[in-house]
């Protein structure tokens, strides 16, 4: 919820954002009408997966960067 408000504020001021969140937060994020959301199928508190899974962490961030530049409208949601 807090990060959703930050994303909306940043976007209104012209700063592009991408939110990386776990899937259980999907409904909560959807009702905040965020511009770009990348969902991971991980437990709350483990957004980028298990500790020390560096290749997965890298993959998530690369996908987030791509989503930041490829999304052309508000409400774009992708899964990884």
């Amino acid at each position: 919820m807090s990060v959703g408000h930050i994303a909306r504020g940043f976007e209104e001021s012209g700063i592009s954002t991408v939110v990386i969140a776990v899937e259980p937060f999907l409904k909560r994020l959807e009702i905040m009408s965020l511009p770009r959301t990348l969902l991971t199928d991980n437990l709350i508190g483990r957004v980028l997966g298990s500790p020390h899974d560096t290749s997965y962490q890298r993959k998530v961030l690369e996908k987030a960067v791509k989503l930041l530049s490829s999304a052309d409208k508000n409400g774009t949601v992708e899964h990884i």
């Binding site: 001021s13 259980p24 483990r46 560096t54 052309d72 508000n74 409400g75």
Partner: protein, 231 residues
């Protein structure tokens, strides 16, 4: 011999005890938000899947079951809702752009503890005990250099299970991976600092007093794109 007049614990009381109660558990506190029937179904499936996972050695089934429970608890949010979205087009090539990262994970540098609620060296267990005090507080942003060493990076947050973050901060504050993206040219530059705060805070104070300050900070740092990670 005294007579024990205490009533047997109900299933509802059992469920709710995981939410900052006698069995407080940040990974299973969602049991509080389920009905008795949902909670019973969840536990029955969890017990069944424990045995299947032992038999097969595959823990993905357990992870999926817990995920479903966490998702069910968050399926009907009754908080802030917006009918219209905001969208700032990202018009820069990522390889030429300046990025930052901001998370609600509660990370901070060991040498600059934000001392939440005015308490020095607050423990994780105290943060959990005082979660409802945090929800009234104005959030404090910790500035964390992307060059920080792992032993200088600390985490404390009364709203989620921090064990994975303690083992490897990159699961909620992936500063080392962000550095690698910069080194490999995937992104152009990073701001000097990444940012983190405790997401369990007063939403009104966040929106009214804090976000405008943080926007100014991002503008001063020339941020083109922000990776935001709610925890």
């Amino acid at each position: 011999m005294s007579e024990n007049t205490k009533s047997p614990e109900t299933f509802e009381e059992f469920r709710k005890s995981f939410f900052y109660g006698s069995r407080s558990d940040m990974s299973f506190k969602f049991l509080d938000h389920l009905s008795d029937e949902q909670g019973a179904d969840f536990l029955q499936k969890l017990f069944r899947d424990v045995i299947t996972s032992i038999d097969t050695g595959d823990t993905d089934l357990l992870k999926q079951t817990v995920l479903e429970g966490q998702a069910a608890a968050h399926a009907h949010p009754d908080t802030f809702s917006y009918s219209e979205g905001t969208f700032a087009p990202f018009t820069v090539n990522p390889a030429d752009a300046k990025f930052t990262m901001l998370t609600s994970s509660g990370h901070y540098p060991a040498y600059n503890d934000p001392e939440p609620l005015g308490i020095k060296e607050m423990s994780q267990s105290e943060a959990e005990r005082r979660i409802f005090d945090f929800l009234k507080e104005k959030p404090v942003l910790s500035e964390i250099p992307f060059s920080i060493s792992p032993d200088e990076l600390k985490v404390r947050h009364g709203g989620y299970d921090t064990r994975a973050s303690l083992e490897d901060p990159n699961v909620t504050f992936p500063w080392q991976r962000m550095n690698e993206l910069q080194e490999d040219g995937v992104i152009g530059r990073l701001t000097e600092n990444g940012y983190s705060f405790i997401g369990a805070c007063s939403q009104k104070r966040l929106m009214k007093d804090v976000i405008p300050e943080w926007i100014r900070l991002m503008k001063e740092n020339g941020v083109d794109g922000a990776i935001l990670i709610p925890v």
